[in-house]
Symmetry: C2
Subunit: 283 residues, 2 copies
């Protein structure tokens, strides 16, 4: 079997590395606009061959798009122009609505499956990839009813190797939910990082006192701007709703603090404590 | 040697458990306003004897105050009224200025040492305590010049067992720094938790899509309101400064997002990426 990976970074690379453990004769063709990534991916055994979009379309049984969401949106239509009957093209972008809309009326829409693995780290590039990243994680797919039967079967077979939990939802619901439980977390981390970095300008030793709690809340601020700017832009409307709601929460806390209203502060935190059962399930 | 622990929770309990490994004949007397905590602490071997403030003052070589910061401030003066010449009273509160000010002119000020171990988890109570919590962590002390020589020596000996990095600073600098690299992280987590919990009211399955990134940013929202409300109130002025700066960062991000200003979004994230070296050191 041949797998084409467009974007040999953390996500595409981990998918390839993982599948190689389950499918001994798997041959992975890698495409990347960054030549360094391709060289590293070959060295690390993430891919077997450096390829290009046209060759991948001619050879691969399944093609995975693991590049920034705006790049997926622009590459996907021309990729679908070139596919043959049974080929599967799947994207792993973190937003789904704009991508689905971009190929809604494409004559080869049935070759495409819109997916999003809930798996990742704050690192990027082929050197960040590891075979177990997808193991037992959640895989979301959207609009599967528009995907062909053979393509759906192949996709679910590939995911079954990783024992993933499969969930289907509309692209709209996906983007709304992810805005709140993933994209917003990244913004809170980026903003906290900048707040403390600015304070460092006048307080040299401020980070000497940082501990594991701080590390936990700013960890995502290490994430790649090239990957995240397009996600934020494509999920703008839901994110603006989430951001406004988050700023309101902070302002409500600030008012209680200004007023020395201890019972309001405790009620705010007591309500937030309800996240315990969710977080304990995730850790 | 006898150690008195006022507040047998995560911090006081972990200090006692850790020292027991290094000082075989250590006897730990526990005081807590919560009888359940005392029973659990005895069962778990965290303390050896249930005691009270008066008995602890009569017997212990060192007394640790590991209770909410407002409780430290109110108990400490009367505790110092009762101590004898070589006894050490140390507090582990997360704010230092108000506590130091409360005993600034106390005749037994030399018996007191103001400290803050940069160690903790989001859990509380004696069942959360573990012997290694303090191991190789940072221990901050403030105004050590007001502490007696014997007390300082004993304190540093105790911390040396854990191979802690000792740092001294003014109470004012401590509170300012901690506002930015610890207390603010807790507020961002509490607020994010409430934002998503409110969205859950209309979107039942929102947490099905949450992953490790979300868990990381809301983990601290599990923290105890009883412990944190007094910290926020005692560090109010620095926290309001931090909160305002944080809200400004979020608003600046929001404006760039509204304007579709990709280069501003990338610059925001690129700056925040500088946190990498700090976080990598902490993890």
């Amino acid at each position: 079997m041949k797998l084409g990976v467009i974007g040999v970074g953390l996500i595409g690379g981990s998918f390839a590395l993982g599948l190689k453990e389950f499918i001994p004769d798997l041959e992975v063709l890698g495409v990347d606009r960054n030549a360094d990534n391709l060289t590293k991916a070959i060295e690390l055994g993430v891919i077997d061959e450096i390829s290009d979009l046209e060759s991948v379309c001619n050879q691969a049984d399944a093609i995975v798009l693991s590049i920034p969401v705006n790049a997926i949106k622009s590459v996907l239509p021309s990729l679908l122009d070139q596919v043959s009957e049974n080929q599967l093209v799947v994207d792993f972008g973190s937003t789904k609505k704009a991508i689905c809309d971009a190929v809604k009326n494409h004559p080869n829409r049935a070759n495409f499956l819109a997916a999003h693995p809930i798996a990742g780290t704050e690192y990027s590039g082929p050197e960040a990839a590891f075979a177990d990243l997808f193991k037992q994680k959640v895989m979301i797919s959207c609009e599967e009813e528009l995907t062909g039967k053979n393509q759906r079967t192949l996709f679910h077979e590939l995911c079954a190797h990783f024992k993933m939990s499969m969930r289907q939802m509309t692209a709209e619901a996906h983007d709304l939910h992810l805005a709140f439980v993933s994209h917003l977390s990244h913004i809170t981390s980026f903003a906290l990082s900048n707040t403390v970095l600015e304070k460092k300008d006048t307080e040299d030793h401020i980070f000497d006192m940082a501990g594991s709690g701080f590390a936990s809340t700013v960890r995502l601020a290490k994430s790649s701007p090239d990957m995240w700017a397009p996600i934020f832009e494509e999920n703008k409307s839901h994110l603006l709703e989430g951001l406004m709601s988050y700023i309101e929460q902070l302002q409500s806390f600030k008012t209680s603090l200004e007023n020395g209203d201890e019972s309001a502060l405790k009620a705010f935190m007591g309500k937030a404590n309800q996240i315990k059962e969710i977080v304990d399930r995730l850790e």
